[in-house]
Amino acid sequence: MIPEFGHYALILALCIALIQGILPLVGAHYGRREYLVLARPTAQIVFMLLAIAFVILAWSFYVNDFSVLYVAEHSNSQLPVMYRLGAVWGGHEGSLLLWIFLLSTWTILVAQLSKALDEFMVARVIGVLGLVTSGLLLFVLTTSSPFERLLPAAPDGRSLNPLLQDPGLVFHPPMLYMGYVGFSVAFAFAIASLLSGRLDAAWARWSRPWTTAAWVFLTLGIALGSWWAYYELGWGGWWFWDPVENASFIPWLVGTALLHSLAVTEKRGGFKSWTVLLAITAFSLSLLGTFLVRSGVLTSVHAFATDPKRGIFILIFLSLVVGSSLALYAWRAPKNTLGGKFSLSSRETFILLGNVFLVVSAGSVLLGTLYPLLIDALHLGKISVGPPYFNSVFVPIMAPLLVLMGIGPWTHWKNTNLISVIKRLWLAGLVAVCAGIAIPLIMGQFTWLAGLGFLLAFWIIASGCLQVVRQARLGKPTRSFIGMQVAHLGMAIFVIGVTMVGAYQEEKDVRMLAGETVTVGGYQIQLVGVNRVPGPNYQAMRGTFLLSQNGKPQATMYPEKRSYFSSTMPMTEAAIDVGLTRDIYVSLGEELSDKAWAVRVYYKPFVDWIWGGCLFMALGGVLAISDKRYRIKLKRASA
C-alpha cells in the first residue's frame, strides 16, 4: 500500500501545484488579494506532499520492496544501505523526483525568506515556480512514475550499476540538481518582473543572492562529478567533454555571465533586458540539459533511459517554457538596452565584454554538443565531436576572459582612467610574465600553452593581491569584495591545476609481474602481488603496490578489480595517493599471461588544484551572499 500513497501524494501535489501556479498569478494581475495569499500555503503543501513521496520512495528502497518496479531495477538486497538510499536517484524516475523535490525546496525557501518583498512580487515568483513544478509533475506522472508496481514482485532486484556504487552517488546528483534547479528562482524573478513591468535595481538585488546560491551549488556539483569520474571511472581523466558534462557546464557558463550582469543591474540599473534574457537562458539551458540527459538522444555514461515518449514530452515542455518566456520578453522587456550612461573604459564595459566571452563560449560548447544530433537528424551521417574540438575552441575564447579578470575589478562604474589602472597593474603584469616563463622551465619543459596558462593564472593572482592590499589601506573591505577576490583566486588555482596536468602529467600502461617496478614522474611503483579479497556484494582482485621516491617508501596502494555478484561487469577501482603538489594514480587492468597484470600508472601534478579551485569559487559565492547589505535590508524591512 505504501508506494500507492507515494503515487497519490504526487497526484495531489500536481493539483495543488496547479493552484499555486495559476491563482496567485491571476490574483497579481487583477489585484485580488484573496488569490495572492494562496501563494505561500500552496507552496508549503506541495513541498510537504513531495517530501512525503520522496520519503516513501526512499523507504521502499530501505525495506527492499521489489514489487516496486523502480526499486527492483535499481537495487538489490545485498546492496549496502547507504547505496540503497543513493539509488533513490540512481535512475531516471527517481532523479526526476529529486529534481522536482529540490524545485519545491527552492520555492519554499523563497516563500519563507522573502517576507520583506512586496506581496505581488512574491505571488508572481511563487506562481511561476508553481507552473514549472506542475509541468514536471505532469511529466513524472504520465511517463515516468517511480511508484509503478511490478507484479508479481521480483525475488531480488537487478541492482545498481556498479559504477554508481560509490559515495559520489550520494552527493553529486543532489548538489548538481540544487544548482540546475536553483536557476529556476532567477528565472521566476525575471518572469515576475516582466509581468509586473517593474524591472528595477530592487529586483536585481532580490534575485542576486538566489542566483549566486544556485551558482555555488552548480559549481560544487560539477566539481564533485568531475572528481567522481576521476577516481571512480578508473582511468584518470577529470573532464571528458561528455555531452552530459557539457549539459551542466553550459548553464554554469551562462549562470556566471548572469551573476556579473546582475551586479550591473543592481549597482547601476543597467543591462536590464540583457540580465533578464540571461536568466531565461540559464534556466532554459538547465531544462535542455535535463532533456538531453533524460531523453537518451545522446550517447553518454549518464543516459540511463531511452524512451522517445519522454524525450518528446520534455521537448514540448521546453519549447513551451522558452517560447512563452521569450514572447513575454519581446513584449515587455525595456527597450533601452544598455541602461545608465557609461564610458567605454568603465566597469560596465568590462563586465559586458566578459559576458560576451562567457556566452560565446557557452554557445560553442552547445554547438559542439548538438552538432552530431543535428547532422543525424538531417540524415547526413553519424559523427562524433570529440575533446579536441572543445579544447581548440574553448581555450582561445577563455584566455582573453582571464586577461579581463585581472583588469575588470580595478575599474570603476561609469568611467575609469585606464592609464591609472595600467600604472597600478604593471607589477602584476611583470609577475605574470616571469611566472609564465619560469614555472615551465622549473617543471623541465617549456611549451607555449603551459607558459600561457601560468601567465594568466599569476596575472589574476597578482592583480588580486595588489587590489586586496590597496583595499585594506582604504578601509574594511565588504564581504562582496572578499567573495569576488576569493572566487577569482579560485579560477586562477583551477587554471594552474589544468595547466599542470595538461602539460606535465605522465601516463604509462605496462605489463607487470610481482616484484617489478615502474618509474613515473620520479616515483617508483613496485608491484608486491595481487590476491583475492571478498567484499560485501562483490569479489575483488586486489593489487598491492609500494610507492617510493628515491628509495624512501611513501605509501602502500591497493587498486582493485571487482566483480559484482549481481552483474557480469567488472569494475576498476583505482588507488590514488593524494598530495598537494601531485597525485599518483594506479589502476589494475586485466590479468595477462604468466600471472602478469596490465597496470596503468599516472603521475598527475597539481591535479587536486582543479577541484580546490572550484571550492574557492564556491566559497567566494558563499561570502558574497553573506554580505551585510542583503541582511540589513531584511532587518530593516521586517522591523
Binding site: N161, L163, L233, G234, W235, T299, V301, A303, F304, L338, K341, S343, L344, T349, L352, L353, V356, F357, V360, S361, G363, S364, L367, G368, Y371, G381, K382, I383, S384, V385, G386, P388, Y389, S392, V393, P396, I397, D509, V510, R511, S567, T568, M569, P570, M571, T572, S587, G589, E590, L592, S593, A596, A598, R600
Partner: protein
C-alpha cells in the same frame, strides 16, 4: 564620445568576438570530427583515407587475442568483419559478443589501429551507433 558611437563600438567588439569564435569553431569542426562508418562500409572501401574515424559494431565471439599489452580483435556488423588492434588497457565493459565503438585509422594492411575503445555504460547497454551498424547490415542483407 557620442552614445551612438559608443554603442556601435561595443556592438562591433561583440561581433569581432563572435566572428573569431565562429572561425575557431569552423576550423575545429573541420579537423576534429570523427565520422561513424559501419564495418560493411569499411569493407567496401568507403572509409575516409588518412583520417581518424569511428566504427560501431559488435566484438566478434572468440576473436580477442592478447599479445601482452596489444590486443587484436574483430569488430563486426554480422555481415563484414574488420580486424582491429589496440595497445593499452581496455575498458571494463569491453567484452566478446557486446557492442563497442572504436576510434582510429586504417593501416596499409587493412587493419584498423584503434586509438580509443569506448565501451562504457552498463552491461545491457548497446551503443546506438553499434546498433545502427547491425541494423544497417541486416537491412542490406535482406534486400539482396
Amino acid at each position: 564620445m557620442k552614445p551612438r558611437y559608443k554603442r556601435g563600438l561595443i556592438i562591433v567588439a561583440a561581433l569581432v568576438v563572435i566572428g573569431i569564435a565562429a572561425l575557431l569553431i569552423l576550423n575545429a569542426l573541420n579537423s576534429n570530427i570523427a565520422l561513424y562508418v559501419t564495418p560493411s562500409d569499411v569493407a567496401a572501401g568507403k572509409a575516409p583515407q588518412g583520417q581518424a574515424f569511428r566504427i560501431g559494431g559488435m566484438v566478434k565471439e572468440g576473436s580477442v587475442k592478447r599479445d601482452d599489452l596489444t590486443v587484436h580483435f574483430v569488430i563486426t556488423d554480422l555481415v563484414k568483419d574488420i580486424p582491429v588492434s589496440y595497445t593499452g588497457i581496455l575498458p571494463d565493459l569491453f567484452k566478446e559478443g557486446k557492442g563497442a565503438v572504436i576510434q582510429g585509422r586504417l593501416n596499409t594492411n587493412g587493419e584498423f589501429v584503434a586509438s580509443e575503445v569506448l565501451a562504457k555504460h552498463d552491461e545491457n547497454y548497446m551503443p546506438p551507433e553499434a546498433k545502427h551498424a547491425l541494423d544497417q547490415a541486416q537491412k542490406n542483407g535482406s534486400n539482396k
